[in-house]
Amino acid sequence: MTFVKIDKKQWAQGLATLQKSYRLFGPSKEKDYYNYKALDVGEQPDFGFSNTRLSPKAILFPQSETIIEFSLDENAADHHIMKSIETDSSPRAILGIRPCDAKAVRLVNLNFDTPEYQDPYWVKALDATTFVGLACDDPKSTCFCTSTGCGPYNEEGLDLLLIEEDAQYLAKVLTDKGRAFAEAAGWNTATDGEADIDARKATAEAKITASVSMENLKNQDLMDLHGASFWEDIAFACINCGTCTFTCPTCWCFDLQDEVHGKTGKRMKNWDSCMFPLFTLHTTGHNPRGTKTQRLRQRFMHKLKYFVDKYDTGIMCVGCGRCVSQCPVNIDIRRVCDLMNNYKTDEAACTVQD
């Protein structure tokens, strides 16, 4: 059973059944854009979206997540002893995650699940999640996933891939998790869909006209790129907000913060951004990335060079286009990636080297 046919008439019933054993997340229209949200009982995901304004990363990596709690009450036996919070690891599924966002989860996983250390909150959330992808037949002009090693029908990171047809969804079962999910929903009408999917995939891929070039990035000298002359020009418009990093499905940087209410306290993981000066500020007042040019350079160098060198799995970008369309001042990663890829070292050195 590689392909399952889901009659749209059975869709709502299947989801209702699933909600007995899964927490379901799906796209939903908020005001004038879409975002992922936890679906209420009986609530349907709204698949009338191209992509969501924010990525679904918050489902696995919340913007603010309490991880540790403690009591400061000296009368309590365990005062000042920090205890891990048991985060909810019950099964959950993200319905209608786009292939680009699913691949992004695999990239973020490289950071949170390493041979030496594992972030238990991320790992538990990831284990608990079934990724039900929705193939992307109407990509946007800002999409460039086909040139980042992804694509509108890319299966990496997905447990199921849904392809929407007129009266039904065709579901490609990709993992045991996906199989269990389909079975739990009662979706068991096997069908043959390979030929169909190939044609649709080719059509969708052909619609993506934007691209980045990355073939030289690996061989570019790190220090040469770091000292390249174009950073000042790119950074001029940058206002150093966190829009690009917070909307990005692959940005994983975070802060740890303690908060105390009365005698109880908690430690949280909060999203952080390399765009913010406080991210790197030393206690002495020294800031190794004290200018906006240095911070902007860090973002692009991390995504398009350091990550490439470190993991050898391509760039830390899936081509979802969110930063391209959301940047208030139109700093376009596609342009920056091409500049970095095509950089020749004989150009003048950057004046912001230090």
């Binding site: 009338g48 304004r53 913007q63 001029f236 206002i239 907000c241 999203w271 500020l281 596609r334 342009r335």
Partner: protein, 314 residues
């Protein structure tokens, strides 16, 4: 708009060639519809990159803070008022600037326009009062008035208030009621207000695009970044999110020109202008003050006068 472009390029080229300025700050064509990118031009030959249309909503005064060069700057009405504020607040000196004034007829609301169409917008062009929007190969024609940024629709200072060169003849100023939206909120009871603001700020992701797009927000260390001690919680607690927005707004009281850069920059469509507009309305009603109109007077909230009619200050 092409005559604007020609004139902007001609002036910029001349200023650079004659070494009257070290750089011209303006816009270059963006990589996607309804977006132009702020840029600086240092060589006369590059002046041809400069563009002007209804997608220049970023407030360029934001790029003047603490600069030391001699600068030519393209300024629409609101930009010019923020340049005035920058000069008053010693963020740049008048002598450093050659202000290239652009009479403005309003900017296109990118968020609103995007949300008007289900498909992907491929191209947006304009011709006088008409905007042509291409979606999935289909051209839709709209009146510009229907897609104007909200702040532009109620703008009463479309012409630069300070300039050295003008790109075109002044446009007619609008005679509009600026504060209808504020009065609607003022009329709410406390519970309605609470709910309104709660919902207004609920999508906030604290990316700080609003404050960073704002030319008034130039503090070397913003209060949200104060860490010794820390002033505001860093998480998504609604109290911290509100604290950020309220403090930011109050810091702009009597200084805000309602340029709309904050709302335009917000990735999640929050109209935080309702806060700054309320303060703007209060400044106007209580002090007869509109920010950035004159170099000769400081904003009311950083001024002290011995003859202040209020008792509390004495």
């Amino acid at each position: 708009m092409s005559e604007y472009n020609d004139k902007i390029r001609e002036i910029s080229q001349r200023l650079l060639k004659e070494c009257q300025v070290d750089m011209v700050i303006g816009f270059r064509k963006g990589s996607m519809p309804m977006m132009n990118e702020p840029c600086f031009i240092k060589n006369a030959k590059d002046a041809a990159q400069l563009v002007w249309d209804s997608n220049c909503g970023i407030n360029l005064a934001n790029y003047l803070t603490n600069r030391t060069e001699k600068i030519g700057i393209i300024a629409k009405g609101c930009d010019s008022r923020n340049i005035v504020t920058h000069i008053i607040e010693n963020k740049i000196s008048r002598e450093q600037l050659v202000i290239i004034g652009v009479p403005c007829q309003g900017m296109i609301d990118k968020h609103k326009t995007t949300s008007m169409f289900a498909g992907d917008i491929q191209d947006v062009t304009e011709d006088g009062g008409k905007i042509k929007i291409t979606v999935n190969g289909q051209v839709n024609e709209l009146d510009k008035a229907d897609v104007l940024q909200k702040n532009c629709a109620v703008c009463t200072h479309r012409n630069p208030v300070i300039y050295d060169e003008m790109v075109a003849d002044p446009v007619e100023e609008q005679n509009v009621d600026r504060y209808e939206d504020v009065r609607q909120i003022e009329a709410m009871n406390p519970e309605e207000k609470w709910n309104y603001f709660e919902e207004l700020l609920s999508p906030c992701i604290r990316c700080y695009a609003c404050k960073n797009a704002c030319p008034l927000c130039y503090c070397p260390t913003c209060f949200v970044d104060e860490s010794k001690p820390q002033w505001v919680g860093k998480g998504q607690d609604p109290t911290d999110v509100r604290t950020f927005h309220f403090l930011r707004a109050f810091h702009c009281g009597g200084r805000c020109t309602d340029c709309g850069a904050c709302e335009r920059a917000c990735p999640v469509g929050i109209n935080m202008r309702v806060f700054t507009k309320k303060l703007e309305k209060d400044s106007f009603e209580q002090f007869g003050w509109e920010a950035g109109l004159t170099l000769d007077e400081r904003p009311p909230l950083d001024t002290y006068r011995p003859d202040d009619p209020d008792e509390f200050i004495k």
